[in-house]
Amino acid sequence: MLPKGRAEQRRSLFYRKGVIRLKITSAYHKQEERAAALFIAPAIISLLLFTFYPMVKAFMTSFEDYNLISTNSSFVGLTNYVNLLKDPEFLRSLLHSLHFAVIVIPVQTALALSMALLVHRSSKISGFFRTTYFLPVVISMGVASTLFKLVYNKDFGLLNSVLKIFGLPPVAFLSDSHAAMYGIMLLGMWKAAGFFMIVFIAGLNNIPRSLYEAAEVDGATALQKFFKITLPLLRRTMTFVVVITTMDAIKISGPVFILTGGGPANSTTTAVYFIYKTAFQQMDMGYATAAAFILFVIVLIISLIQLRLFKTDVEY
């Protein structure tokens, strides 16, 4: 009798416990869901309002003739896009952005990697140089641009003083339409190289030292070590650096505003600067958003390539 009763008792106790646990878990889950909803609500609302809604809106506005001054808008179909693709000023601005990208990507990446190789070891001296190389990164773009405006000055600028020391002729970096874009590039690289140097240092420090030691035992030269060990193992870092540099480069605008204002003779008008001018000086919102959308598609394609590259990398 007793054993049976005990078993029953145990069973019913077990059952009761189960019910209680079930009740607790469902209340628990409900609370958790409510907390989660409250926690993500501000982020979701903000993102919907300030990122996704503007994207949709941009898409719609790009089919309209929408002027902020006359405040009337009318649907014009693909007219904005067709006109943009025929607009030499817009095409030239895209070309300027690409020109910037094509030069800056290889030069800046090589520079950042060289800097990283010079100072990646963990010692006090390397640390000092790392900090030094990084300083331009923390200088604001506005400050750097006004400073470089003076540095580039043909008569009194620091750059031309230095060129003179090396016996080189002075260059009017900002008023010569052939040189102005290089002035922007130089500033861009001065400010950004240190940032990517740090990324490369992180990548370099992930390469096991034992690989180099083994190579040394086999009598590998420094160049061999660089091309057979360092470069292949930096592939993931390199992809990251190149893709981020590309996206930043295509969207370059900051120094253009302050250094050159797009000039001389529109020679430094980049795509984002073109969009800004069209939207906020000519108040032609439809045309500007269509241009922004073309730029977005270009950036999106590059982002998709980026995701692709990262994927193959993970499998690798």
Partner: protein, 276 residues
Amino acid sequence: MVPASRQWVLMFAIAAISVLPILWMAMGSLRPRQELFQYISLEWHLFVPVKWTLQNYAAIFVQTSKPLGLYIKNTLLVAVTVTALSLWFNSMAAFSFAKLQFRFRKIILPLFMSALVIPGEVTMVPTYLLVHQLGWVDSYTALIVPSVISVFSVFMLIQFFAEIPRELLEAGRIDGASWFGIYSRIAIPSSVPAMITLGLITFLGQWDSYLWPLVVINDETKQMLQVAIATFSNLQNTEWGQILAADTVCSVPIIILFLVLQKYYVQSIVSSGIKG
């Protein structure tokens, strides 16, 4: 490797290129007006003023036409507000994504992250139109509200929160704490380094912001620092000494902040580079 001596020359050359323009800026701001354009060949006085003066600083803080103090105050107000709100809301969202179980999480998270590929430059025009419709033009609301949520910050914090064991949080639950209590008393204290890093990035981003304030703020007395400095440099009779002084004032606090918190700042780049 490159012979050691050549390596040293290179290291010093790059250091010079990095630092000399900044030094030239700081020293130029301490020169009287007529001296600024006098020393252009390689000599000691290319960098060191002959006559030291603070008149440029006096001018930018005292002159009513260029009230630098006001712009610094404006910028600090916006930057600090954005940083505080940003840390709060982004960390709550990240905590929720990383640790809480809720329906549609698997759908919402990738949608949320997809915003990473939408560049601000591209949504700038429609966002401006929205801000215009909301009547926020010329107010700090326009600078603050759209800047608070950062997908990148949420992304970084998710990775950080993911490392906190769920049992630790459940233990808090069993002890009767609410989820908000667990978030604020367990999750946040255990991620202080990440919060410092993100706080620093957000603050610097705001301190540097140029394009968005240029677009939404027209009232000169409400303007942000970078736009104000850029405007100074576009004036007809540019007082370069004063601009260099403004540049220096704008940079010194940032450089000090960076030197003090360098570890966190560099860490953020390293982790975004590795995990990015």
